[in-house]
């Protein structure tokens, strides 16, 4: 049961080979583009690595880089094969190479599609990683004298100013954390002692936010402290005030940024996937058409090309059987062997 049989007269074969050569060079450039896009995504993820708890999301750019490099090789060989295809003397030397080549190419092309699907599927993982990372960042904001955490304040401040956000979910996260270090608190003052006694953990909590939450678009000078106290500031009502500090949470801002980036990259990679797929399909048709010519005297006859000789299921089993035999221990009773019991299959 042949899959997708097509007739190929000589002229059509020639045109297919020429078109495929051009297409494979375009696909090489596309493969380099995929690699570059993977590098760009990885760089962007690494820039904010301090506010991410785990590096699970890095599997997307890593896959893109591997696929980009692999497609460079795949398309290089594709162009060489189609150059030799029309020469009946040179084509047979590719015979043994083609079966593993197609297996590897299909694997990497499917991997490309998987990378795009993963970039959408891993949104939840990215969000939870950012949630934990930001929570730690806010908690260790005050520890500018602890080695290993002394740059947290700088990172969080720069993050909030660049992404125009405040806190984890929103600015109220700062009310629950002591973000002023004890080094700068006057413990002899009554007000400080009252605040520390007012909660179980003995933390100095204020209804204030750091300066990096301030919105430059506000018409009035920034109100950072006593945010919930309307009477502390003239002509101020915190329930309706929207321009004073950033209202967006940093987790939402970062997730939107990265999902936007991955959507753009995903769209590009999808089109590259279609290009790569068409290269492989054309190469398969050319190969089967040329194989029918081999051994004939007149090389200009019309031949048939097809995608798969057997049906899809049979072809898959044909490829998977050697792999399964390699990995599985199959019970085989060897002819002539008198001992019973399982003997491991030889590779």
């Amino acid at each position: 049961m042949v899959v997708m049989k097509m007739k190929f007269p000589f002229q059509k074969r020639v045109k297919l080979a020429q078109g495929l050569w051009l297409l494979s060079w375009c696909a090489t450039v596309a493969g380099a583009t995929t690699f570059t896009l993977g590098c760009v995504l990885k760089t962007e993820l690494r820039r904010r690595a301090e506010v991410m708890d785990n590096a699970d999301i890095h599997i997307v750019p890593n896959t893109l880089m591997i696929v980009g490099l692999a497609s460079l090789g795949i398309n290089y060989f594709a162009s060489k094969i189609c150059q030799d295809a029309l020469d009946a003397g040179r084509f047979p030397r590719w015979k043994n190479f083609l079966k593993p080549y197609f297996a590897a190419s299909c694997f990497f092309t499917v991997l490309m599609l998987l990378a795009v699907i993963m970039s959408y599927a891993m949104k939840g993982s990215l969000e939870s990683s950012l949630k934990i990372g930001l929570r730690n960042g806010i908690r260790f904001y005050k520890d500018t004298d602890t080695p290993g955490r002394c740059f947290q304040k700088q990172n969080i401040d720069r993050l909030q100013m660049e992404f125009q956000c405040c806190g984890n979910n929103d600015f109220r996260d700062w009310f629950e954390v002591q973000w002023i270090s004890n080094r700068y608190l006057d413990f002899s003052s009554k007000e400080v002692k009252d605040r520390i006694k007012s909660n179980v953990d003995g933390r100095y909590l204020v209804d204030g936010v750091p300066f990096s939450c301030c919105n430059p678009s506000s018409p009035r000078p920034c109100i950072q402290y006593q945010l919930t106290n309307n009477s502390a500031h003239y002509n101020y009502e915190y329930q309706t005030e929207e321009l004073n500090i950033y209202l967006r949470g940093c987790r939402e801002a970062l997730v939107n940024y990265y999902m936007g980036l991955m959507n753009t990259i995903g769209a590009g990679v999808l089109s590259i996937f279609i290009l790569q797929g068409s290269v492989l399909v054309s190469l398969r048709f050319l190969q089967t058409a040329m194989e029918a010519v081999a051994g004939k005297e007149n090389t200009e006859i019309e031949t048939e090309g097809y995608l798969l000789e057997k049906g899809v299921k049979d072809t898959v089993m044909e490829y998977l059987n050697p792999v399964l035999k390699f990995f599985l221990l199959t019970n085989q009773v060897e002819e002539g062997a008198t001992t019973s019991g399982a003997t491991p299959a030889t590779t």
Binding site: K153, R183, Y184, F211, C222, N235
Partner: protein, 366 residues
């Protein structure tokens, strides 16, 4: 005595023409680069246009844009000329144009050099413009309800955050202006009224700065208010505290930024100038060697190429004489009574017929 005479065989001439063709096309690309550098500088200056007072600084990017476009045109023409110079018959088409073209290009390279030098000379004008512009911007910081100035607060805040600077010369500039609008001051409070009465102009002055002056590298939360009051904050000494606010003034920060851009652009223009000069030298050699070949008659022979036919002084003298005589076309020569034909010896051999006997002179009295 020619200046820098070089012998050119036919193959050498052809190679020179081909190399010059390629170099001219590279020069077209450098012309495009000059144009885009000028455009970039113009965009950068306009981006901060609100912070600059009206000064004559637009001439530098405009000059670069003009020079870039003219360089493209001149080198495009030069490429066409050099392409045709391989063939002596095609060279005849361009023969008359080549010398004026070389002279024009020579003066144009002067313009390129002037453009490069202008990049370095803009320093003083820019500093003055920034000084005045920043002072004005800080004065109108609080006027977020006045049309035309309502975005100045945002501009100044973003400038101070991005360039990591505070005030004009330093953060103390903010102590001398009222940067909090009256709309947000509680006039019924005693403290506010005291501050307003404490100075002649009735301004609400304080020793505080906007939040955009805060330094992100500071280990402690930012101290914006009562900066000069050591007792207002725990463990704080404002004379030694360097990390709390940005110490650099915005005028200096912006000046450094623009000077850096213009130094890079000036360097690129200087390199372009040297390149143009070398291409021009090559074209001059090609022109003189091809003209000498035409004079000798044999297109395959060797010929000489030079920069100037006579020595530098003689060429200068002859050119000055030509320029002087250009102005004398309409002047009457007052010697010899204005008659230009007196005392001019007859050098022409008149043909008086087959005997070649001059006719008798008819005297007046016969």
């Amino acid at each position: 005595m020619a200046v820098l005479r070089v012998k050119f065989t036919k193959t050498k001439r052809d190679k020179l023409a081909q190399v010059l063709w390629i170099l001219n096309w590279i020069s077209v690309v450098t012309g495009v680069i000059l144009f885009s550098l000028g455009l970039f500088l113009k965009v950068e200056i306009n981006k901060r246009g609100e912070l600059m007072a009206e000064r004559d600084i637009q001439y530098v990017p405009n000059m670069l844009i003009a020079v870039g476009l003219i360089a493209c045109a001149i080198n495009f023409l030069g490429g066409k000329i050099c392409y045709d110079c391989v063939d002596t018959t095609k060279f005849l088409r361009w023969k008359l144009i080549m010398l004026p073209y070389i002279i024009c290009t020579f003066f144009f390279t002067f313009c390129v050099l002037v453009g490069a030098l202008m990049c370095y000379s803009m320093h003083g004008e820019l500093e003055e413009s920034l000084d005045l512009g920043l002072t004005e911007a800080m004065r109108f910081y609080k006027d977020t309800d006045t049309p035309g100035r309502c975005f100045l607060k945002r501009t100044v805040d973003l400038l101070q955050i991005h360039f990591q600077c505070c005030g004009n010369n330093g953060y103390k500039d903010w102590f001398q202006i009222q940067w909090i609008s009256n709309r947000y001051l509680d006039m019924s409070q005693k403290e506010v009224l005291n501050r307003l009465r404490s100075n002649v102009e009735g301004k609400y002055l304080m020793d505080g700065v906007p939040f955009s002056c805060c330094n992100t590298n500071s280990p402690r939360p930012c101290i914006q208010q009562q900066i000069t009051n050591n007792s207002a904050h725990f463990n704080y000494e404002h004379q030694t505290e360097e990390l709390n606010l940005w110490m650099k003034g915005c005028r200096q920060a912006l000046l450094e930024y623009y000077v850096h851009i213009m130094q890079s652009i000036g360097l690129a223009v200087l390199i372009t100038w040297l390149f143009e000069l070398s291409v021009l030298t090559g074209v001059r050699y090609l022109q003189t060697s091809l003209e000498n070949v035409l004079r000798q008659g044999d297109p395959n022979s060797e010929s000489d190429g030079w920069l100037l036919e006579n020595s530098f002084m003689e060429t200068a003298r002859t050119n000055l004489n030509i320029i002087k005589s250009l102005g004398k076309n309409n002047q009457i020569d007052t010697s010899n009574n204005g008659d230009p034909n007196i005392n001019v010896p007859s050098t022409s051999k008149a043909h008086y017929g087959p005997d070649n006997v001059p006719p008798k002179q008819i005297t007046e009295d016969s």
